[in-house]
Symmetry: C2
Subunit: 114 residues, 2 copies
DNA sequence: CTAATACTTGGCTATGTTGCCAAATAAGCA
DNA sequence: TGCTTATTTGGCAACATAGCCAAGTATTAG
């Protein structure tokens, strides 16, 4: 397979992988519009601060967030607000699935399943 | 934290996670517009057929693809073509990062870094 | 029925991920 | 200076993932 093509899929996968965790999705959601320091995010996530910090470094390494030190605190913000589009994409898939599910159930209720 | 909110992030993460692999991104790309059988995808991926099959089952369990048996072959297709939006999202992040990178390099060349 | 083809499943190993705790670092305050 | 607070890093255990091979299933062809 074409090396360049392969590299492109790998680059995309790295971005998507960085978002593929509920805690990191919550972080991205919290960061919409405003920047937040680690302890604020920790309060929402109810995880050890070291764990939150690691999630943030995953997002940072992927180029999704950036950090800025303010005194003792570190404020994180979205580097590319477009990541929130991922939510809509995921939501659409979930909706499609829910709709199909409902349809199947409807057919079953009408005696379609044997 | 709110249980419902948590569940929503988990549901989204499951979808995104299913896409977070170069092989599966390639599959989704191959499936744009047309359906493909497992051996066609295998030829592109250059992976063991059992591995391809497992990637497909990950996508299927996430509700991203659906399968239809035609004789001996199994044809897979996108259940929700909107997943290709993910590519654009990922691409935007990559672009943003590349642009920032270029900017930093520009500053360095002008003697900004010490 | 037998053989061949297409695919899936089970099993295994290697590798990656997530969480916590403890220790290290950094900045502001007394 | 030494103390406190905020954050990061290292280490480790538990668990998940990705790949291959071998074996199982299913459908068509002879």
């Amino acid at each position: 397979m074409d090396t360049e093509r392969k590299a492109r899929y790998e680059a995309r996968a790295r971005i998507i992988k960085a978002l593929a965790h509920p805690a990191r999705l919550l972080i991205v959601d919290e960061l919409r519009g405003k920047s937040r320091c680690v302890c604020e995010l920790q309060a929402e996530l109810e995880l050890d601060m070291s764990t939150v910090s690691k999630h943030l470094s995953v997002l940072k390494n992927a180029g999704i967030v950036q950090d800025a030190k303010k005194g003792v605190q570190v404020y994180y913000s979205l580097r590319c607000p477009c990541v929130t589009d991922f939510f809509q994409c995921a939501e659409k898939v979930l909706l499609t699935r829910a709709r199909d599910q409902a349809e199947v159930l409807g057919r079953t209720a009408r005696g379609g399943l044997r």
